[in-house]
Symmetry: D4
Subunit: 253 residues, 8 copies
């Protein structure tokens, strides 16, 4: 943004644009105003990735409109939390859109992304955590990361985890996804030397409180190197993991 500001200011200084234009540019810059939404077209520049559409609470038509907006600005599209029914409606209009059913994600790629040589490991405690894990995996892959899936290795049968430990330790960053009591994050965190992002899931019953217990477990882990995202937020974990994995591919000056 600093760069943006400077470029516009210099344009003003050299009288290429007047101050009213400059003020507008400084503020509204790269937004596509759809009325119901102001699509943020500068996000790749600002955040390193295009704006991702959160599908829940939006109609199929609203999603289609935002997809068109992003696509027309040469941006890859990822849309999360899309029900199968909603995808059918989207697909009738945007044939190129691809649906990942387990992850409930829609992908529409305008440009091919290179895949990292290093990988993100996605580790789940149980079979029921798979939907969240797939949202993370599809997101990470959409952002150009190599992904290792290691599912159903919860601590009730801890030897299942040890069988995959070498694999997990080779990743640059590890996402641990668990519901119920969420203890897997602490155990994995104690065994690796890379950043671990923990995702609590809403799997469980009674005092699980729809994922709150797993969240608290992860925030209070006795192992170091663990950070946490919101309940069921596979997307958010993958977003951060992708940033970290890409850093390790070259870093910033």
């Amino acid at each position: 943004m600093a760069t943006d500001t400077k470029a516009i200011l210099e344009a003003v200084a050299h009288q290429k644009i007047d101050t009213t234009t400059a003020q507008a540019l400084l503020a509204s810059g790269t937004t596509d105003d759809l009325g119901f939404a102001k699509v943020d077209l500068a996000r790749t520049k600002r955040n390193g990735y295009p704006e991702v559409i959160y599908g829940e609470g939006k109609t199929a038509q609203q999603i289609i409109d935002i997809m068109y907006s992003l696509q027309s600005h040469q941006q890859n599209v990822l849309c999360t939390r899309v029900s199968p029914e909603k995808f059918v409606a989207i697909h009738q209009v945007i044939k190129a859109a691809v649906y990942y059913a387990k992850a409930r994600c829609v992908v529409l790629n305008v440009q091919v992304m290179a895949t990292t040589s290093t990988s993100i490991a996605i580790v789940t405690a149980g079979t029921s955590d798979m939907a969240v894990a797939e949202e993370a995996a599809v997101t990470a892959e959409a952002f150009g990361n190599r992904v290792q899936r290691i599912y159903d290795v919860g601590v009730a049968g801890i030897h299942r985890l040890f069988a995959h430990l070498t694999e997990i330790r080779q990743a640059q960053v590890v996402i641990v996804i668990a519901g119920m009591e969420g203890a897997l994050a602490s155990v994995v965190g104690g065994l690796i030397d890379t950043p671990l992002i923990a995702v609590p899931t809403s799997i469980g019953y009674g005092t699980n409180f729809e994922g709150l217990t797993a969240l608290l477990t992860m925030l209070n882990s006795c192992a170091s190197g663990i950070t946490v995202v919101n309940i069921d937020n596979g997307f958010g974990a993958a977003y951060s993991a992708s940033m970290i994995n890409h850093l390790s591919q070259g870093g910033k000056a």
Copy 2:
């Protein structure tokens, strides 16, 4: 109690006592009324163990009075949650009382209890859980159990636990004591074939909520065979563990 009732009823039937006496006996039986407290002298008969004094919120004098009452009825005395200051006051009056400082317990034995051949293992996650662990250990020993103490083997360095696994698996019943995220209970629970009683401790900070997080973790464990007691309730865990350990020594007809 069933037996009691029958005995009294038969005494009535054989006119050894009148019905008014019987009614009183049925109701008030074996209580020592101290005014501020009604000491329950029938607890050994009814529950298998004498009444244990919960020291918190009682004055030294009140504790002394209840200790005298129990002692005079030939009952061993265990008093938990006694501060060092309070013990000094008790000890000036009851010289035979013994103080276990780490456990903050007072013991006054009237009769020697046999020690079980089998043992209770008490396992803690960290150094800070030791006070609760010692309350459990002293209670279990006061009730005649052999106790194995295995402290500071939390999951952040899980190899410390594996180093003691054989020992833990030899116990009849295992008490796992942990604060912070309390994940140790799930890991141990997944590795043993005996009952596990989990005790959350109030060790931690922030969203630990003074033990609530560890409690929730333990209640939602993905491992089976785990039951839970209140936060910091080392005494309660030991009480149940002792019942279980004694069952395994002979059981009930």
Copy 3:
């Protein structure tokens, strides 16, 4: 596990297997990897009972696959939280599967288990707690325990409890199941000399908070010898109770 490790290590020492194989064996041992799940076949050895399938959140097909896996390894199968609809689908494929409708459990026995001479008493406060109670009862019976069912004896009419007290006191371990305020656990706990496992149920309304009130009541009981499991967790209570009841049948060396 200690034993396992030693056997594998000795095989290495005598050059019967190479170290790569040993490492794999040590880690992955006895797991059947179904892709969506890693079935834990070593659980009987490690925990004393086979892995139990938690039916909620699994498709009928997933349950069928895990049942086949366990059955093919000569393990008895218990699957909890199965809806009638899901059972119909399972039954079409696995004819030998038996459904316990009130308990919502499926049982598929490969080998006959001996029944204990001693019993577990299952006591409920109200009629509405019956579903949880039956989950506990079917689980306990599947694990070879004799079970006494004593239902609807809540404290609003406490004479109903006293009428069954003799029966309750003859059990080796008592499971008390109650919703609303859950006071029954404290009352029974004050009258028996055996371990009591309390199960809060989600029966109630308003400030019952779907079982939270009963859970808190049970954790804070003024009676000793009570441990607690998660809300509605009839299975978990029976699992621990079965461990305790079997201990009393012989104990461990």
Copy 4:
């Protein structure tokens, strides 16, 4: 109040007072404005009892001023939640004030109240509930009720309760005071045919949450005829109980 309004209106109608005076009378009536407080002198008329001073958060001087205000209007004074230190300061100024140390209440009677022939029973679960019980007892006695104190009869030793059941059943209204899990209210409620007011106390630890657990237990009681007041609110329970007890002495036309 209806009566008040009419009287004032009639005074206006008969030109005894002008409308400005009437409006002021209608509104401000019987209040003594001390600046920091507006003492409500009409409370006896409106509520049946004088205003009671809640001592916590008031200085000794503020309490003295309000006591003087009430006394000078011929009203009996009850002040709750007064520390011993604060009472010393009050007593230096108002010699006639009497302190009830266990109840932490100050009483200053201007006129003698008749004592009811019927009684209020105050029942506690444990020794530690006594402070709340005494606040209730002193309040009830200050309002002219006969009081029966039955302390330390909690459900861990339920025979202690049965020994006093006849006594409890003779009261017009029963106050049950309990901390920890608060189960005593349900048990007593199931055994009596009179109104029961339950007072949760902040006695307990861990998940007791300073009385919240006992409060929830009492609100969710399976026994009928139980109403509840705030945690540790012995005064409030006694206030309502006194209203009920006096109703039974004659009722309202």
Copy 5:
């Protein structure tokens, strides 16, 4: 119960019954065991009113069975929380059953009850609180009380309350029913000299938390003489109010 016990004991003393029979009588006395439920037939004697059926969570057939049991022992029947659909099924079998749709209650009277000369006032804050109010009103009437209904007089338009104040002040006991912030209880409590039972309702949204806010308001009321029941518990409020109203009709010796 005291009386019961004495009668049975005397029967034993005079050898009219043996001790085994006595023991059974003492305990199980007046219970009708339907298998799924143990109907408490002694409740009138013990609590002053027959057992009331809580309809939620029971099948129509279970309700019918319990109604038959009570009816055959000459007890009036009140069943709360009955949906219209369930009543249709009940009515096909028990033609004499009467349904109060707004209150969702079924009444089946075996014997006519006298109506009190004094009344219970039922006051609501809003139109939406009417269902709870009618449950209270039908319950109170079923127990023989005269009832005054004063609905929709919440504090947003406080003059609506003042218009009914005289009426409210004539009642022996007042039930105040309010959702949202529940302030009506405090305002009414400050204006009357009779016991007030407050019922929070689950009417509201957002931070109302399904009635929790109104409950907390009522428990913390600055007005004295208020006791509280569980959220939406119109039945419970009427039960206690009826006890109080009947006390005022004659009291107990």
Copy 6:
């Protein structure tokens, strides 16, 4: 109200009405009693705006009846939280009623209101907050305010907000509506010099707790000049904003 009282009192003083009439007038004054509801016709006088109907939990018929009552007293009608289905039923009877679908509001104007020259700005963080925003906007317009809608300018793309800052700063009062973490309120609050009313919405998932997180954020804002209303309470925010906006149009003497 003061005025009312005085007028009635003077009528009494001049014997135009008797005291019984006066008392009734004083109390019930301007209420239309529909049985299920007491319509408050004095609200415009007392509060400056007519009573607004909260549609949720009321039947179409009840809404129609209240609308008729208000209309017949020459009051404009606003009814919030009306589903499309309910409106169909209302519209069949009251043809002049207008439905605002996004806002779920019904408006029926009897008299035309002047529109303020100054405006209220309504700012939302995301597309999903639009329903709450429209409830606010329609309410504000119904009360005669000019409204500026600025939607989807959340802090994830903060330049979208700056693009509209001049517009926002021109309003007399700003309503900020946000779900998820609700940070927009703090950012806007730090940039303006007019009152800001923050509305948390229930948009979000996991630890959003249906708007609770946004509410807490807004209550704890580090920016000054922010006040908060209940979750999703667009109506309430507009009601207060309208009061403020009208004050700025002339104020009160």
Copy 7:
């Protein structure tokens, strides 16, 4: 800020400053960097009032440094939450600083502010709410508002409120401060036609939860026109009230 930006941009366009300077000006503008704090000197321009110092958690020396910074830029200083001890230290250095003990506020005026002709009414429920009320009053006065203090008129004696209603209704905006159940806000809100800002206080005990109950009450008020600030936040309420009161004195173009 929009104006700022334009001015700077025009300076660039006319080559009065270079782009590097412009960029720095745009960003850091009017901040005084004290190392531990960046004093916001533009706040009057941006928000209409100078930055107010929140004294809690700051040392006397830090407060002194910030006061000097503000004073040297000709800004009036208000510092809230200052203990008497801390003020002594401040006063030794800044003699002109004035302490308002009840409000725990320090004021240091550089320029005299005009006082509004219209007023803010500050209404409290009880004597104990006075500290919060005084924080509000001193803040409002520091910002140049006329203030009416009306204390101790809670709903337990509602006639005390009515006695001051005329006074309250004359204010432009009303602040209602209440602890315990906080019902006063609803009652006042139903009687006035001006904006009401409600401040919950932490006065109470038990389920008051240090002000949470009063907060919830106020957020769920059935009366319209009420907005709410954080618990005990007298300052925040006065800040918003002052904005509103000043609007009514002239408004914005």
Copy 8:
């Protein structure tokens, strides 16, 4: 660990050690058992960093013992949450220990660590967040990272943040530390393209709930790329940030 296992297995295969030794080695490996603690000496190998001592709840002597243990194994020592008093005691014994007072950390370096060329930015909202920020900064520096401190740039004066944006954007990873409503994390997250670790602090009052509000805000951020640690956990944030920063310096094969 995988490597460890293989090495030990090969030693067994070549008969360099027997199987019993191997089993012990596999399990207990590199732990120093101090009785009260089992110091984990393998943590650098396993996690990339030595074990860090959490000072709270440990005595000075316990800390000294663990420091000696680590030091004697050539490991750098970092000890967090050490009060000044405790440090005095430590320093008397270990002269080389250095205390960072604002951070409350003790450092004892055995070997010099290289400092990264890239940096971690630590950004705080307010002055009061500095203690947590310094714990993070000292930890990050102890682990060899270059650190940029940017304090007191909260959103109430958002231009203070923009003044430092270029600096923040140059970091590899950003730690944002904020109390109150924690909105700063979302604003920064929307402006950068690197991983952001958010630390809620317990700074605030009322509904801040000792940091819970800031935590919830951060977990629900509308900006992507944010992960969260426990309240006040500056150490944990720095630990993860250091892992990420080091990854960017070279990554893993």
